[in-house]
């Protein structure tokens, strides 16, 4: 397998981008990444997008978007694993280069979610759950995570205040990220006073509906050296992917996110790293409980200690393992297909020492954890700066 490096990053400001169609949002991020890398063309394009069909009525994105970027004719692959589509696009690009099929790959993620009303968006997102046997009965995504939260609370004594503190921390980080959708100050009280969406989860426990795109340019390390880069070289040293039943009814243990644990084990093994080696991590906090369960599944905290860890400040910038310095899905926004790529954009920025006010001092090794549905898939990457 060949060594792979990230040589360019780009993203658009996340938010409700009423003026822009999917193709323009995507191209904004793609061109920014190509410019950052200083390359004009690539050997392959990967695109993570969950559901452009349901959100915008447009499929066949691979060809549409290659053309939009002025790269007509370049091979392009769209991949889908619900909200983990972006992470899967990164892994697919990584694999293209590692296998020697390409030297330079443009990895992208995109979702345009605001061209449909709330009910249609809820329906589109709901397709990541088992529609036939669970969605049929009226369960929603917040509802599925609420069920996982209820079990975590009963088994470990996790509190709604600890859940709220995840939102407080991530919104505080998001205020330092100019690309974030929200720059709100959120308090434990404001989370607990927000509308109940699915007991015990409140509105401010949930990530928002967002338009956005993010992009990376990957190259083989040999190619990256040939191109001659002024910025520090960031290598992708570990990549792990795992699946699980999307129906909660078929999960072996509802107290953990097994796909996250398995994907992390694979990424740690490839990189030759362990949790204690990681300086910071972007995790898939689509709901506050998801961040707590993800930090446990990644091995940063023992099962049940994810909630107390937030309370202790272990996951804040300056803490033992800073989690979601970008603001996470909670504050930065969650354009589902873009999220997994945007997580890597943040880690590369941190490893380059270019994260400004939210910089984690001395960060050398970072991790991203992207997740589909309620944990039916997960993609984990480890990135290291030279």
């Amino acid at each position: 397998m060949r060594d792979v490096a990230v040589i360019g990053t780009g993203m658009v400001h996340f938010g409700e981008l009423w003026s822009d169609p999917l193709r323009k949002i995507w191209a904004g991020a793609a061109l920014a990444a190509l410019d950052d890398a200083g390359v004009k063309t690539v050997d392959h394009i990967t695109i993570g997008c969950m559901s452009s069909g349901l959100f915008t009525g447009q499929e066949h994105l691979a060809s549409l978007l290659a053309d939009e970027a002025g790269l007509n004719g370049v091979p392009a692959t769209r991949v889908e694993s619900a909200c983990a589509s972006g992470g899967l696009a990164l892994r697919t690009g990584f694999a293209e280069i590692a296998a020697g099929l390409a030297d330079v790959v443009l990895v992208t993620g995109v979702e345009k979610m605001t061209d449909v009303d709330g009910a249609a968006a809820t329906y589109a997102l709901g397709t990541a759950a088992d529609q036939q046997w669970e969605g049929f009965h009226g369960i929603t995504f917040p509802g599925l995570y609420a069920m996982l939260a209820r079990i975590h609370m009963q088994r470990h004594g996790t509190t709604i205040e600890q859940l709220a503190q995840v939102a407080v921390k991530n919104h505080a980080n998001g205020r330092l990220n100019p690309h974030a959708q929200y720059h709100l100050k959120v308090t434990v009280e404001s989370v607990l006073e927000s509308t109940l969406v699915a007991d015990p989860l409140h509105l401010l426990d949930c990530s928002p509906i967002t338009d956005g795109a993010a992009a990376l340019v990957l190259a083989s390390v040999d190619k990256a050296r040939e191109l001659g880069r002024a910025k520090p070289l960031v290598r992708i040293t570990g990549s792990g992917l795992a699946t699980d039943s999307i129906a909660l009814a078929n999960r072996a243990d509802l107290g953990e996110l097994a796909a996250v644990r398995k994907a992390a084990e694979r990424a740690y093994a490839m990189a030759g790293r362990k949790p204690a080696d990681i300086d910071l991590v972007e995790v898939h906090d689509c709901f506050t409980i998801a961040e707590i369960m993800a930090t446990e599944a990644l091995g940063f905290f023992a099962p049940g200690d994810g909630g107390p860890a937030v309370e202790r400040g272990d996951t804040a910038i300056g803490g033992k393992i800073p989690v979601n310095t970008s603001g996470g899905l909670k504050a930065k926004g969650h354009p589902v297909g873009a999220t997994g790529v945007a997580q890597a954009v943040e880690i590369v920025s941190q490893l380059r020492g270019a994260a400004g006010e939210r910089q984690v001092k001395g960060a050398k090794i970072g991790m991203t954890q992207n997740m589909g549905g309620s944990g039916g898939s997960s993609v984990v990457h480890i990135l290291e700066v030279e």
Partner: protein
């Protein structure tokens, strides 16, 4: 997405709670599959699920998906039936959602789940009620 064809082909599971029991390892699959995820065998016999079970976890959906607004707030539970099979079902006839608890004994009853405007089909299935 619902259609008359979908409703029709799922009658055995939704109306009669038919599941498949692996003839090799005994695992019960609901809905049935072609291969047993536990032992890999591919032969099954039809069994009917028991109606008694207990709540493994639950929520009360306050922001409902399309078609459920009349039933909101909507208590939904993951129920473990007496034979260990787990099913996602609504909890019906709940006057006070605060009274729901993990471990609560329930019984499945045949009820109307939803009526779908576009397909013009009334969907029936099972809901849990306090046992």
């Amino acid at each position: 997405m619902f259609s008359p064809a979908i409703a029709w082909r799922e009658y055995p599971q939704r109306y009669r709670l038919e599941a498949a029991r692996c003839t090799k390892c005994g695992k019960i699959l609901y809905p049935p599959r072609l291969v047993c995820p536990q032992c890999g065998a591919r032969t099954f016999e039809t069994v009917v699920l028991p109606r008694e079970g207990k709540v493994l976890t639950y929520t009360v959906v306050r922001v409902p998906p399309t078609g459920f607004s009349e039933q909101t707030p909507l208590p939904i539970a993951l129920v473990e039936l007496a034979n260990g099979v787990r099913v996602m079902v609504q909890i019906a006839d709940v006057a006070d959602p605060e009274s729901l608890t993990i471990g609560m004994p329930v019984r499945l009853e045949f009820r109307r789940i939803n009526s779908d405007g576009e397909a013009g089909v009334i969907f029936y299935g099972h809901k849990a009620v306090r046992a």
